[in-house]
């Protein structure tokens, strides 16, 4: 039967040959990510349409502009996912393997700190949060209401958060190397957060909790995840699933602790 199948194209009509020669695989490679992106975005479009038309009874403004924007979102998401698969993931895994095979723990930890610090310090969401936090502090007479004092406070807050993310990635990598159980580290961290929350001034608490969420950007997350998984799979006796994940958890927990501490010291 396999032979039959192989011989068929030679005596097939040109139309069938054309059908067969059409690059279906290539088409699928383009359409599949677009289809996935459409599935991922359908709920958000549905929610906005529902509330705009059914609840608020308002027309959709600038429909053409919206459709154009949606097309950009779709193509962008599909491209981004493809870029992860062929670029960011393989690159960070290759680096994790070379660090592990070279056995240079010192350089690995330096790399981990720089990765956390450099990706956080210029994070736009953090800049916004730090600015608002400075305004609150000035309003609550914690710092002087001069522009200089406000700018200083915002910058210090950003430095504290970026430093804490650097330390978090270092601790996370150390955990993978030393093989500490993640639950203990994280639960100890939660314990610290709870204890510090009790003594921290009220105005810093919301900002501290939010700073844990805003530090991990869309490019950093895949990179750090692939680094952890790559490291765990190239070190002997580690389970990539059990030991490779967890870096992001550190990166969202430590900023809370550091900002709470900063608030306690300043106030």
């Amino acid at each position: 039967m396999g032979k039959d199948h192989a011989e068929r194209p030679s005596d097939a009509s040109p139309r069938v040959t054309l059908w067969r020669r059409f690059p279906w695989r290539a088409l699928q490679m383009v359409l599949q990510p677009l289809f996935n992106a459409m599935r991922d975005l359908a709920p958000i479009i549905g929610v906005i349409l529902f509330f705009q038309t059914v609840v608020l009874h308002r027309p959709i403004p600038n429909l053409a502009g919206m459709l154009e924007g949606l097309a950009l979102v779709l193509v962008g998401l599909a491209l981004f996912v493809r870029g992860l698969e062929i670029g960011l993931f393989p690159l960070s895994e290759a680096m994790a393997h070379s660090f592990a095979s070279k056995g240079s723990a010192f350089w690995l930890l330096i790399f981990a700190f720089l990765l956390g610090f450099s990706t956080t310090i210029a994070e736009p969401a953090l800049i916004i949060i730090a600015g608002k936090a400075a305004a609150i502090a000035a309003g609550g007479d914690v710092i002087a209401s001069t522009p200089q004092a406000i700018a200083d406070y915002a910058l210090h807050l950003r430095l504290v958060v970026a430093f804490s993310v650097g330390v978090a990635i270092v601790l996370g990598v150390l955990r993978i190397m030393i093989n500490w159980p993640l639950q203990l580290c994280i639960l100890a961290g939660y314990g610290m957060v709870t204890a510090l929350t009790m003594i921290a001034p009220a105005s810093i608490i919301g900002i501290a909790y939010d700073s844990g969420g805003v530090t991990t950007s869309t490019i950093t997350v895949p990179l750090v995840t692939a680094l952890g998984v790559g490291l765990a799979s190239s070190l002997h006796g580690r389970n990539p699933l059990l030991d490779g994940f967890g870096l992001i958890a550190f990166a969202s927990l430590l900023p809370i602790i550091f900002v709470l501490l900063y608030g306690i010291i300043i106030h």
Binding site: D40, G69, G76, L77, I219, L223
Partner: protein
């Protein structure tokens, strides 16, 4: 055109320190050749362009309407201003429903979560489904954001909720299968980035501004904290339920 340029530069500034660091260490410290350099270069270019297009599209199609909607839903004439007693529950119901649905929908579209779920499915050789993980994270964010709005309306202390949520995480950690725990803890930090934060901030600030006695600066913050703790709970629950049905 200005939006395009600003967005491209913004994404470039996000990517640049990472690329410099990666290549600096690759050539300066590790001194090892990268395999398929052109393919990886193309991938990084895709990441840059893809994220830029994604952000421009969001800015054009989703954010203006979503933020306007959050403001309209929390505006005084919709939820009924004039003293705390006049907040009719059925009017507030739309706010909670919006919080629930927008939390779910934005998280499902979050590119960072797509990346982590892809990696989890790949690492677990398919035993953890990427879509299942993303759906459970989205449900967690939805519940968290709705509860966060309820907190702003009632004006209870933020730390009470967070400590209770942490205690739940602690209890569930003992029951959950070991393999899911690191992933569950990670999913808390992943949910809050590009798509979710701007809309949640608009909702929280709008709600805090509309309700008398709330300070937008103090009560408006904190929704993101809800959105980072509750996915941990929902992913742990998802794994516990999955394990139960697998054993049967």
């Amino acid at each position: 055109m200005k939006l395009w340029l600003v967005t491209l530069l913004g994404t470039l500034r996000d990517l640049l320190p990472i690329v410099l660091l990666l290549f600096g260490f690759q050539f300066g410290v590790l001194r090892k050749k990268v395999e398929h350099p052109w393919r990886i270069g193309r991938g990084l270019l895709y990441v840059l362009l893809g994220l830029t297009l994604f952000l421009i599209g969001l800015e054009q199609a989703i954010f203006p309407l979503g933020e306007l909607m959050a403001k309209q839903l929390t505006s005084v004439e919709v939820i009924g201003g004039g003293g705390a007693a006049s907040f009719a529950w059925d009017r507030m119901g739309w706010v909670y429903l919006f919080a629930l649905m927008i939390g779910f929908a934005t998280t499902l579209a979050e590119p960072a979560l797509i990346a982590v779920a892809m990696k989890a499915e790949q690492t677990s050789a398919g035993t953890i489904s990427a879509l299942g993980l993303r759906l459970s994270v989205s449900i967690g964010v939805a519940v968290g954001v709705a509860l966060g709005c309820f907190r702003i309306v009632t004006g209870t202390a933020l730390w009470l909720y967070i400590v209770a949520a942490y205690a739940t995480v602690l209890v569930l950690t003992f029951y959950a299968p070991r393999q899911i725990i690191p992933l569950a803890y990670d999913s808390g930090g992943v949910t809050t980035s590009t798509v979710t934060v701007p809309l949640l901030a608009a909702l929280g600030l709008g709600l805090a501004a509309a309700i008398p006695g709330r300070s937008p600066l103090i009560d408006g913050f904190g929704l993101i904290a809800f959105a980072s703790v509750f996915p941990i709970i929902s992913v742990l629950c998802y794994a516990i339920l999955g394990q139960r049905s697998y054993k049967k």
